[in-house]
Symmetry: C2
Subunit: 152 residues, 2 copies
């Protein structure tokens, strides 16, 4: 398997994983500190999905860091297949969660004419924006992983 | 480039494209015949995204049918790269549209305690379900395309 930027066990790969963790935990923090997120299925789903994202990305960041420290190469086809499946599942869940929350945020704060509680609204919007950023970084990781696997 | 089920210019490829068209047009039909979809940004976005999907899938179905009829092979790397980019863009837009509409449908019909107009609600739910089916078929197509491109 070829070694290029973003593949497991490289510095860029580790950086991507850390960014995913950062954005996803930011999104959880912004959403969980609002007073009424549990009234909305989509917002609760966002928290669940971002939680899964944090676990997955943190695990892989840890693996990357170990591989970097011990100068080991992580290009075992079975391991990469596992990373590909996990990455695709979390990327799809993240996009779905971010979009459904964005749909509701736009509904409340544009279609239904403005938001009543100023601070809550900003938190919802921040959570959605961070979820989309998290999706972009996991999307890049999954494309790189899939390419690594397919290119052999 | 290898020739396997679902690659451009095969019968399974053509079938996948036709299914995408069918599900996307069904979703548009179900959504556009409701009375109040234009009040919701997400529902209007669903129609726009599914419209794009129909155009793209119909164009590729036409190409596949031509290639099948003339027994030509469509495995030019430039052409396949174009298909990959188009497939990924439409797949991402479809998933985002389906999820944001699903978020609003669930908000109205579960979180806010039931739907007032029975027929409208069923149409919204049908449109969302068909959009997800359309996303699944375009997702399969895009994975196959990406694999074809990466495997060379």
């Amino acid at each position: 398997m070829k070694n290029f930027a973003g593949t497991p066990g490289t510095v860029t790969g580790l950086l991507l994983r850390l960014l995913q963790c950062l954005f996803a935990s930011g999104s959880i923090a912004a959403m969980a500190t609002t007073k009424s997120f549990f009234n909305f299925t989509a917002f609760s789903y966002l928290i669940a999905s971002m939680g899964l994202q944090v676990f997955w990305s943190f695990g892989l960041a840890f693996l990357d860091a170990c591989a970097l420290a011990k100068k080991k190469v992580l290009h075992n086809p079975v391991l990469v297949s596992l990373f590909v499946v996990g990455d695709w599942v979390t990327a799809t869940l993240s996009l779905a969660a971010a979009s459904s929350s964005a749909g509701i945020t736009i509904l409340y704060f544009n279609d239904l004419g403005g938001c009543s509680v100023r601070e809550e609204c900003q938190k919802y919007q921040l959570a959605v924006a961070l979820a989309f950023l998290s999706w972009i970084t996991i999307g890049i990781s999954s494309l790189i992983m899939f390419w690594t696997l397919a290119a052999g």
